[in-house]
Symmetry: C3
Amino acid sequence: MISIKDLAALLKAEIIFPSGQENLAVTKDLKALAPIASAAADDVTFLANDDYEKYLTITKAACIIVKRVYPGLTAFQLVHANPYWAFAKAAQIFFPPKKHSPGISSQATIAKSAVIGEGVTVFPHVYIGERAVIGENVVLYPGVYIGDDCRIGDNSILRANVVCEDRVVIGKRALIHAGSVLGADGFGFAPGEGEVAKIPQIGGVRIGDDVEIGGLSTIDRGALEDTEVGNGTKLDSHVHIGHGVKVGNNSMLCAFSGIAGSARLGNWVVTGGHSAVGNRVVLADGVQLGAMSAMTKNADEKGAYLGFPAIPQGEWRRQVARVRKLADFEEKLKDLSVRVRELEK
Amino acid sequence: MISIKDLAALLKAEIIFPSGQENLAVTKDLKALAPIASAAADDVTFLANDDYEKYLTITKAACIIVKRVYPGLTAFQLVHANPYWAFAKAAQIFFPPKKHSPGISSQATIAKSAVIGEGVTVFPHVYIGERAVIGENVVLYPGVYIGDDCRIGDNSILRANVVCEDRVVIGKRALIHAGSVLGADGFGFAPGEGEVAKIPQIGGVRIGDDVEIGGLSTIDRGALEDTEVGNGTKLDSHVHIGHGVKVGNNSMLCAFSGIAGSARLGNWVVTGGHSAVGNRVVLADGVQLGAMSAMTKNADEKGAYLGFPAIPQGEWRRQVARVRKLADFEEKLKDLSVRVRELEK
Amino acid sequence: MISIKDLAALLKAEIIFPSGQENLAVTKDLKALAPIASAAADDVTFLANDDYEKYLTITKAACIIVKRVYPGLTAFQLVHANPYWAFAKAAQIFFPPKKHSPGISSQATIAKSAVIGEGVTVFPHVYIGERAVIGENVVLYPGVYIGDDCRIGDNSILRANVVCEDRVVIGKRALIHAGSVLGADGFGFAPGEGEVAKIPQIGGVRIGDDVEIGGLSTIDRGALEDTEVGNGTKLDSHVHIGHGVKVGNNSMLCAFSGIAGSARLGNWVVTGGHSAVGNRVVLADGVQLGAMSAMTKNADEKGAYLGFPAIPQGEWRRQVARVRKLADFEEKLKDLSVRVRELEK
């Protein structure tokens, strides 16, 4: 599918020839990408985890993406500072996304005022509302609902049963997995006078370019201002983003992350599984909130945080260790108590 | 849209005239509702958070909803004991819900035995089962599934892809956001004899009036008795209510709240994000369970609870503070140990 | 519906006659199954929880499923070592699943290359992709999406709006509740070079026989290898199974369980509500992970675990108790400190 030379150029990786075969052709095509233990003779593989180093000398792969040069290998080496990233880029070549045959199903319902771009694929049972603008090459799978005045950017793919309520804006090359809901009302209510009064949610939702959203996630519309997700940010399944939240670029939110109203997440932020960010809480660029952890105050410093309430990771680990030693403390305290009583006699 | 006088009457708020202008007309129309910092000259705004008091003298708003009288302001003041609630009610006037044009899509599938009320809107790709009763002015968005023998109360709105399994009953003025599932089988199984035997779930689901349910929430049907959600209760996105649970009136359940089977929640209960209520656990009226917390025993007293297992909030806070001081304890214990050894010599 | 004799045979339970009436007919039909407190004269009931023993002498039921013989009762007793399981099996008889009238809706969209078995029910607004194979008696509710090359086993039921992406394989007698998504891309990304690069997810999803999946759950497709769920395993609502995970047979995963990529769960594993299993973590057969708990390391021993990070249940309980006693520790430490100072004088 791609030659060693072309792959190296694409990854900006250095080519190291097989030991003692510096004249071997680099124009040979690599046929597939496979794990190091199971790769075949025309395959490319990668080493991103040192635990797999033992396979370096026994793999059949023609070419291995590595972080540093390993002397004496019989395979080509492509040296890259970030082999996991290089593997991802290679995999994108060997496993390209499924092609669609453009066309609008007669079983879809499309408002007359909607604008449908070139090359769009609309499956059956899709609904597109008034004045919606669907960019070029967009793919809308069965059961997708696009409300009034939505805008879906070029080359975006919305998988089955995705819902975009009115005025949701999605950038280019987005991939929204099945069943996710964008633009439902935020959870805004004012209890009083014997009722829980609804606060109308009139803001919108704005999703950047190159965003991926897992299955069954929700991004609520803002109360007054928009909810925003920046370019290149990736959401796992079952992620919840509350009203008025702003998430920066290239952040990663793992499954069951819950971001409460008006929180602000910077760029390159990571939130672990089942984590929570409190109302109006601000996470600086590069903050990593661990799984099962809740950030209740602003985190101004880049770094890893854990626990509830979340604290810097090192501190949390020491805390856990100390709690585990409490039996020991208890013992020592008893012992001291006895000895002090003895001394007091 | 509404005059100062009419708004005051509606909110039962006291009107305070601009300083030195006690003859100014209160019949002037307010044009919009806006945040205090950005409101224009014909707008109404509100002060629900003291942090924004600094804007009182510089806002351009014609009228401000306040908790107490501020002397010397150039705007009208509408004094109300609960300005946040008053703001919600005002917002409901300025941002009324979207109007629908009643009508039944020919692309919907409706059982002949179903009863459809006056003024109902049925979008394409809706399915309505046998003997279902759809109240007046109900709106069913695309992809909604209504099982056999369901009853949907007047003026309720079910957004795209909402699923009501057989025999689900929903009251009046409900708003169910996209993708939520009501009446799926509860998680009832009996392990034994080499299998995990399913316990048929034959109860129903009963939802009261004025209930709002966020996107992608689930309310399971009961095993033998119904699962119930009381009037005026609001559920966020990704909330799970197990089989046989009874939730009272005017309660608020935040995102990822999980209420296990047969639990009982009173009125005005609040459950935080990622919180859990255990099997058969009873929460009294006014209990507030914090985020990331799990109530494992009955909470008979109104009040706030936190932690896992959840304890009264004050106690939990002191516990967290003490755990953070453990390094200090350790230090002191070592010091004492050395000194006691010294004394023993 | 079934005689006492036949029910006993089916459950392999021993029949104990009503006290002093050893000649009573065991061929009488039981009419219904009901809770012990409300059962009528022709009903069967069960005692699975000792708290209900007080009802044994006052229930009107004709027949009670019990764990051990209770002397002097006026009802038949069916003695079984696992009355809860026996109740489940009895309930399956009295509350059989809804019957469907086979047929393919003309409002469904079915690829010509798809293979549809005998007795299949396809509701309107269903989509079935190329080369999909739908087994005998399968029921596909409205809004179900079946991607290309999927295989759905005989007698399986997919409720409304369930999504199976390409190449998902489901065994026989599966019950998938509404809105669940199988085969969405796993959350695989490699940050680097100023982007978060997507790792194509080309593995599949394989679900065994007799699996039940609650509403709005997600089972992601593998990155390179398949994600697998074994025979007889049951998932609650809002469960997330990450890419490449293998779950064994007869396991039970409660609501909001999140199983991270490549984790391995054995047979008869239970994960509580809001629990998490970390990347690549292995849980042995019979491991029970408590609610709100996260297993971060392999659990090689059968047993119950709790906390974050999860530890054996007994240890966790003692830890919680010790943390609650910290105020007491603090007090004692202060007291000792004063006394040591006194001694030092």
